[in-house]
Structure formats: structure tokens, C-alpha cells
């Protein structure tokens, strides 16, 4: 569950829309801690479970929405954790202790669940449904909201790519010289739109995760300010996307090479479907790792941007959500430090350096995101994946990494009573003449 606290009433807004006085639990008790000895094993098992479920979620459209929501909730934890680390906590205290000490941050004491409600929810009266499926509902709701927000900014560019590819080659096939420009111009427009969106989207996703409010995705001024301030971090983040997407593009395209090399005549379509599904399930593990890395870095970048911005006075209290303000306040990080007085020359040099850095970063960011886009075009050339390959970029939008060909999915769903070869084999050993 994503938790947000109202500054005015002190009430806590829960995922179910209820509000209640801030408290740790209904009966005031603190949940018991597992022993340290079992803690590590338990964490490893839980971590493995969460990873496996995450990989499975990458294979289906609906489950990938759940994965997107889980990622958002996890990012919120990462953001708060980063702030906690910067607060230089006293020895012997843990981040978990910090989270459990307050109702707002209580759910962040552990990694988000996939299905069952968090401990916080389980203490609620009349919440059996939330107890068993609270996290599943939260994951889906949050995932859907971040997906829709991301699509608002990125889908126009992707749609233009799809149109440009279709129309450009259609026009080329029909030798429509008079309209030769439509495909390329549309394609370039889509590329520019997508690159422009990607200046903004990663930080916006992190903001939405941290605040728990879908509206905060559209805090254009604040997010633009944060991106400008963290230009180097934005560069590194974009590089992560580009480098991370390279093996994914290879994995997406590899079946084409495997299909050429294999002697597949003896397999039925059901068997081929199983092979493809197993392949993309394995790829889902790689994809999930890359996705987690990019989201983790985005969360850290956002946390640092807010922290630095607040302390420099660039990010005001009004810019922050209630949850962010309360958390920073608890950690003692909401104090504004006046800027150090530096000689004018040093200040000018710093200003110039920052501006030059920002300008260079803007150019490099464009190049990096263009590389990301180029990978999409190249991988679609080698293995066209209908509309999905253009409209959905799993690392950015819906984390759905399954490119099983449609004809295998359709044909394997029609269960056959007996196995039949995928394609008839030619009888090569007969030497005869036919008379028609």
C-alpha cells in the first residue's frame, strides 16, 4: 500500500480511502520481531519468492501491470531508505525500526507483497479481503496509474513509429514517390517526441512512486527542475536504460536466429509454443534484473534530488507531498541550509560550469535516448512483433517481456487430439514422374 499523510488533520489516508488517527496499530502494540538467526534465511526465501513471482509477472499483460505497481511501491521504499541513510542514523537503529515506528512508513518496513496485504492492513478490523489480497489490489491499482501516466507522454511517439514503419514501407512497396516523405518525417517526429518524453518520464515515475499520488507525475516544473539539477545522474540513468536494453534487444531477437538454425519440422506447434514460453520466461529473469536496476537508480536519483533541493532551498515545502514532508521532517532533513558565500569568480565559474554541463547533458541525453530508440527499430527489423513491439517498450512502459509469436499462441490454444507435425515434410527419396 502507498501511504500518504495529510498535514492538516494528521490523518493517514489509506489505500481503501479510510482515514484514521496516526497510530502504529489499532491496539497500540508493536509487532514482534523475528529472531536474527532465522531472519536471514527468511529474507532469502522471501527474496527468491518475490523474484520468481516477478519473473512470472513479466509474461502476461495483466500480471505485468501488477509488476509495474509492485515496482512503484518498491521504489517508494528505496526513496525513503535513501533519505534515512542520509540522516546519519544512530548506531544500532535500522531502517526497519524507523519504518515501523510510524504509521505512514510502517508498510515500508519490508519489501512490498505481491498478493497478501501488508502487516498494517492485517491489523485492520473488517478487512479480511484486504488481508488476503490487499497488496494484489494495490499493485494493480498503482501499476495501472503509472502505466497510464507513462503512456500519456510516450505513446504518441511510439504510435508514430508504428505508423511510420507501416506507411513508409507500404509506400516504398507501392513506389509512391510522391508521398515518399510521409514515412520518414512521421518516424522522425515520433523519435523526437519519445526522446523529449524520456527526458522527463523516469524522474516522473520516481516522483509518483515516492509520493503515492498519480497527480504528482504531472508536476512538470518541479520535475524539470530536478532533472536540470541532477543532469549528471540523468545521464547515468539514461545510459543504464541504453546499456540494459541492449541485451534485452538481443534476447528479443534471438528466437529468429534459433528458428533458422533448428530443425523444427518434427515439433508440433504446442511443443514450439512451450519452447518459446520457456525461453521468454527465462528471459524474464534478465529483464526483471535490468528493470529493477533502472528503477532502483531512478529512485535513488529522485531521493537525492529532493534531499539536495530541499536543503538548498530550491524545493519548497509546497512542492513536496505530505508524505515526503513528514518523512523528511522526521529524519531532520527538511532544514534549509543557506548557500555558502563564495567569491564572485568562483560563483561565476560554477554557474557557467553548471550551464555548460546542462547543455552538454541535454545533447548527450538526446544521443543516448536515440540509441535506445535505434535498438527498437533494429530489433523490429529482425523480428517484427506486430504492434506490440512498437507501442510497448517494456523497460519504460508496461514490463511485459513476452514476444511469443501470435500464431503459436493461437494454434496451441486449439488443443489437438494428437500431435501433428508443424509442417509437412517433403518426400525426398522418390524418383518418379507424374502425369497430371
Amino acid at each position: 500500500m502507498i501511504v500518504e499523510r495529510s498535514r492538516d488533520s494528521g490523518a493517514v489516508a489509506l489505500s481503501g480511502g479510510q482515514s484514521r488517527p496516526a497510530a502504529i496499530a489499532t491496539d497500540g502494540s508493536v509487532p514482534s520481531q523475528p529472531s536474527a538467526q532465522n531472519f536471514l534465511w527468511r529474507r532469502m526465501l522471501i527474496g527468491a519468492w518475490k523474484f520468481v513471482v516477478g519473473v512470472v509477472c513479466t509474461q502476461s499483460f495483466l500480471l505485468s501491470i501488477v509488476l509495474a505497481g509492485w515496482m512503484q511501491r518498491w521504489m517508494q521504499r528505496v526513496v525513503v531508505q535513501q533519505w534515512w541513510r542520509r540522516s546519519r542514523p544512530t548506531a544500532g537503529t535500522s531502517f526497519r525500526d524507523f519504518c515501523l515506528a510510524d504509521a505512514q512508513t510502517y508498510p515500508l518496513g519490508h519489501w512490498p507483497n505481491w498478493v497478501r496485504g501488508d502487516h498494517y492492513d492485517r491489523g485492520q478490523p473488517s478487512s479480511r479481503c484486504r488481508c488476503w489480497f490487499g497488496s494484489l489490489a494495490a499493485n494493480f491499482r498503482v501499476g495501472l496509474s503509472v502505466l497510464l501516466n507513462t503512456w500519456v507522454l510516450t505513446l504518441p511517439g511510439c504510435a508514430l513509429w508504428l505508423f511510420a514503419w507501416y506507411d513508409g514501407w507500404n509506400n516504398s512497396f507501392n513506389k509512391g514517390y510522391e508521398q515518399y516523405w510521409v514515412g520518414p518525417i512521421t518516424g522522425w517526429l515520433g523519435v523526437l517526441l519519445f526522446i523529449g518524453a524520456m527526458y522527463y518520464v523516469p524522474m516522473a515515475q520516481a516522483r509518483q512512486a515516492a509520493t503515492g499520488d498519480w497527480r504528482s507525475f504531472y508536476d512538470f516544473r518541479l520535475i524539470a527542475r530536478l532533472v536540470r539539477r541532477e543532469w549528471f545522474g540523468s545521464l547515468v540513468l539514461a545510459s543504464l536504460y541504453v546499456i540494459g536494453s541492449l541485451p534485452l534487444a538481443v534476447l528479443k531477437t534471438l528466437p529468429v536466429a534459433l528458428g533458422v538454425g533448428l530443425s523444427w519440422d518434427r515439433f508440433t506447434e504446442k511443443q514450439l509454443h512451450s519452447m518459446t514460453s520457456a525461453y521468454f520466461l527465462a528471459c524474464g529473469g534478465v529483464f526483471l534484473g535490468v528493470l529493477a536496476l533502472t528503477r532502483y537508480f531512478a529512485a535513488r536519483l529522485y531521493a537525492r534530488a529532493i534531499y539536495d533541493g530541499v536543503q538548498a532551498g530550491v524545493v519548497s515545502e509546497d512542492d513536496l507531498s505530505a508524505f515526503e514532508w513528514e518523512t523528511l521532517h522526521r529524519l531532520g532533513l527538511s532544514r534549509v541550509y543557506p548557500p555558502k558565500l563564495r567569491p564572485a569568480l568562483v560563483r561565476s565559474a560554477a554557474w557557467l560550469g553548471t550551464r555548460a554541463g546542462q547543455a552538454t547533458a541535454a545533447t548527450l541525453l538526446s544521443v543516448l535516448w536515440f540509441s535506445f530508440v535505434a535498438q527498437v527499430f533494429i530489433s523490429e527489423f529482425f523480428n517484427r512483433n506486430a504492434a506490440k513491439g512498437w507501442l510497448n517498450q517494456p523497460l519504460v512502459q508496461l514490463p511485459w517481456f513476452n514476444f511469443t509469436p501470435g500464431h503459436l499462441q493461437v494454434n496451441s490454444s486449439h488443443r489437438r487430439t494428437r500431435s501433428t507435425p508443424a509442417c509437412p515434410t517433403a518426400d525426398d527419396n522418390v524418383r518418379r514422374r507424374h502425369r497430371w
Binding site: K175, E380, F381, F382, V430, R431, R433, R435
Partner: protein, 417 residues
């Protein structure tokens, strides 16, 4: 023995002028020394358009069948062509196959280095020999190949007295490198026995030359257009830009220009253009050998399956027009052999959304077919035996009455009556 010079090209396309000069000198001296065996001056000039070597013995006139070699390209599977249940070429599959001999199991060799692609497939058909071709300029994905052994047209013109406009290659605009497959680097054949190419590139070159001659541009623009013309002519570097088209070909392009204008926007496009060029060539140039390099099905590389199936249908319609035109012409009727063969197949990749999107040397990309019909060809016959694509060359050579000595496959005996 008649002597002639050859302009030798390095792998980078540059001319080894000093080496060829030395060779010329050597050959001249050798010819002088032999004396009685030399029947003509050794130093030959680039043969005038339309004529064979000046020093050649008299060649007999060609009375054999006309041949139309259709490259059913660029890359088609058996499934969408000769499979009656799934064909997109119904005229070809249901009618033409009954008129001649269909080789259902023709294949391209699976030996290492033998690629299944358009340029390579075209040269396999023209030369009768598999080879490992590399772009002469070393360009990535370049398809500018040069054959080391003679092409069908060279054999034909070396054996019979044929002018260059009587052996034609009709080429599309998408694969310009294949324009220049019309002669090999072989020392005994080569440019003097080349076929002519009909294509939009040739028309553009003709048009530009004509417009410059007519003084259409002045000043800087004229210089720029001259530069353009040089660039167009330089593409055929082996002839060093001296490949002036014969009077017949010039007249052909004049008629084309009168009919379709200068813009290039009124003539048929894509593979339909190739059909139109061939039909006009049959009427005006009266060729004895034509190769048509159809290619539109290859657009499926970009992922749209309908381009593949539509391309096949367009070729099918083109075949209908060609056969109709041949049958309506008394000189061609009953005297023309059709050979219809793909340059390569396509993949049948179960793991790709579009299974036949590419042709990456898979088994399916090597599986093609061949159809022969016309005089001297067995009718209503299907051959199940596996045969090699390069056998097409030997078979056509046999039918035309010469020996393709560098071709490597035997004649398709089953096709002969």
C-alpha cells in the same frame, strides 16, 4: 589465337592499370612472335556498341529458341507459389505448370559459404556455378559482385552472332548492383559479350545525357548535372563509362520517353515496371534472351506479410502478360522457352511473428522450384528428384545450342523431350 585485353579489377574496385598495360605489352609481343598464328591486331579497342570482337571468327546466326528466364524473386517459398492450397500465383501454379516440366525439389547447395540471397542467386542462375561472392568495395551489406566465370549471355554471344540488344537483363530500381551482373571478369569473355540492361537507372542515365546534349541547363546547374551523369556512368566502373548504348537501345529509350515522359511518375512501378519493360523490349528490340529480375516479394523483410503475397501476385500477373505477348507474336510463339526460377527461398521460422520475413540460409531458404515450358520441353511433368539451381544454366545452354563449359551441374534430362 585472337588476342584481347582485359581490364582487371582489384578487390577494392580500383584498376590495376600498370599491370594491364604490362599484360597488353606482353600479349602484343607474344602475338608478334607467334606471327603465323596471329590473325588480328592484338591491341583492341573497346568494342563498338552492338558488335562483337573485331578479331573474332565469323559467328553463325542464332536460330535456336528464344529464352525468357524469369527470376521469381526476391526470395519466395514453395508454399506460396507451387503449393496449390496456398499459392498466391494461381496462373503460374494451376496453368503454367501444366505446360511444361516442374522441378518441385530444386535446391540451392547447403555447402558452407553458399549464400541464399538475391545477388548470389542471380549469379548462380546466370553462371551455373556456386561461388562465394563478396562485395567488391567491401561495403557492409553491399551486393556488387563480379563473376569469375561467364554468364549465359556471354556464352550465347560468343557462340552466335548476336548484338547486345538481343540479350537483355531487365532489372528493378531496388537492387541496382544487379544491373552490372551482365558480364563476368573471365579473360576469354567479359565486357565484349555483355548483355544489355533495361532499367530505370539506364533510362535516367540516357535521359540525363540527352538533356545535357539538348542544352537544357546552363552554367552551374549544367556542371552539377554533368557531375551527376559522371557519377551514374561511373557506377559501371568496369566499362570505365564507355558503355555507350547501341542505336537500338537509344531508340528504345526515346520511345519510352515519348510515351512516359521525363518525370518517372507515369510509368508502371515496382515489378510491373519490369513487365512493361520486357513487353516493350519484345516488341522493339526482339531479344533472343531476356532475364527478368522480379523482386517485390522481398519487401517482407520489413515485416508486412501482405507485401510478400501481393508481390507474388504481381509477378503472377506479369507472367500472364508475358506469356500472352509471346503467344501473340508469330516470331516468338512456339519458339520461346520460359524458365521460371526463384533466386532463393525464404525462412519458415516458427519463432518469428512473420515466419518468412528473412532468408538467412535456412533449409527453407534453400528450397526453391523451377519450371520450364516451351519447345523441346516435356509437357505436364512434375519431377520429384532433388536438383540443383545451377542446373538451370546448363539446361538452358543445352536448349540454346551451346556448352556452358564452366557450369557445374548436369542438364535436367527429365525436362527434355
Amino acid at each position: 589465337m585472337a588476342m584481347h585485353t582485359k581490364h582487371e579489377i582489384t578487390s577494392s574496385g580500383a584498376s590495376k592499370s600498370s599491370a594491364s598495360t604490362s599484360r597488353r605489352v606482353f600479349l602484343e609481343n607474344l602475338a608478334v612472335g607467334v606471327g603465323a598464328l596471329a590473325v588480328a591486331p592484338t591491341a583492341t579497342t573497346f568494342a563498338a556498341p552492338g558488335t562483337a570482337r573485331l578479331s573474332s571468327p565469323a559467328r553463325k546466326p542464332y536460330r535456336g529458341p528464344n529464352v525468357i528466364l524469369v527470376r521469381f524473386g526476391g526470395g519466395v517459398r514453395r508454399r506460396e507459389t507451387i503449393d496449390p492450397q496456398h499459392t498466391y500465383a494461381p496462373y503460374f501454379c494451376h496453368e503454367l505448370t501444366r505446360r511444361g516440366t516442374l522441378f518441385k525439389h530444386m535446391e540451392i547447395s547447403a555447402s558452407p559459404g553458399i549464400e541464399t540471397s538475391h545477388g548470389q542467386g542471380t549469379l548462380y542462375l546466370l553462371t551455373g556455378k556456386y561461388d562465394r561472392y563478396k562485395d567488391v568495395g567491401g561495403k557492409f551489406l553491399g551486393q556488387r559482385f563480379e563473376s569469375k566465370v561467364p554468364t549465359l549471355c556471354e556464352y550465347l554471344r560468343e557462340t552466335f552472332a548476336l548484338e547486345d540488344h538481343e540479350t537483355l537483363v531487365v532489372n528493378g530500381e531496388d537492387r541496382r548492383d544487379e544491373e552490372f551482373y551482365n558480364f563476368s571478369n573471365h579473360t576469354l569473355y567479359g565486357v565484349n559479350f555483355r548483355s544489355s540492361t533495361l532499367s530505370l537507372h539506364r533510362f535516367k542515365t540516357f535521359l540525363l545525357r540527352r538533356q545535357l546534349d539538348q542544352g537544357k541547363w546552363q552554367g552551374d546547374l549544367r556542371s552539377k548535372k554533368l557531375q551527376e551523369l559522371r557519377q551514374l556512368e561511373a557506377l559501371d566502373y568496369r566499362t570505365e563509362g564507355r558503355d555507350a548504348q547501341s542505336a537500338k537501345l537509344t531508340q528504345f529509350w526515346e520511345h519510352w520517353r515519348e510515351h512516359y515522359g521525363d518525370t518517372g511518375l507515369r510509368n508502371p512501378r515496382g515489378d510491373r515496371l519490369l513487365t512493361e519493360l520486357t513487353l516493350r523490349a519484345l516488341r522493339e528490340l526482339r531479344p533472343r534472351f531476356v532475364m527478368i529480375n522480379y523482386n517485390d516479394p522481398d519487401y517482407v523483410h520489413w515485416g508486412n506479410m501482405t507485401h510478400y503475397t501481393r508481390g507474388i501476385s504481381i509477378i503472377d500477373e506479369g507472367l500472364r502478360q508475358l506469356v500472352t505477348a509471346v503467344e501473340a507474336d508469330p516470331e516468338y510463339r512456339d519458339n520461346t522457352i520460359f524458365a521460371i526460377v526463384p533466386d532463393c527461398g525464404r525462412d519458415t521460422n516458427p519463432f518469428a511473428e512473420v515466419p518468412c520475413q528473412h532468408h538467412f540460409n535456412s533449409r527453407s531458404a534453400r528450397e526453391i522450384f523451377g519450371l520450364f515450358f516451351g519447345p523441346g520441353i516435356a509437357r505436364n511433368t512434375v519431377v520429384d528428384r532433388k536438383v540443383e539451381q545451377i542446373g538451370v544454366t546448363t539446361t538452358l545452354a543445352h536448349l540454346m545450342g551451346f556448352k556452358a563449359q564452366y557450369a557445374e551441374a548436369p542438364v535436367f534430362e527429365e525436362a527434355l523431350t
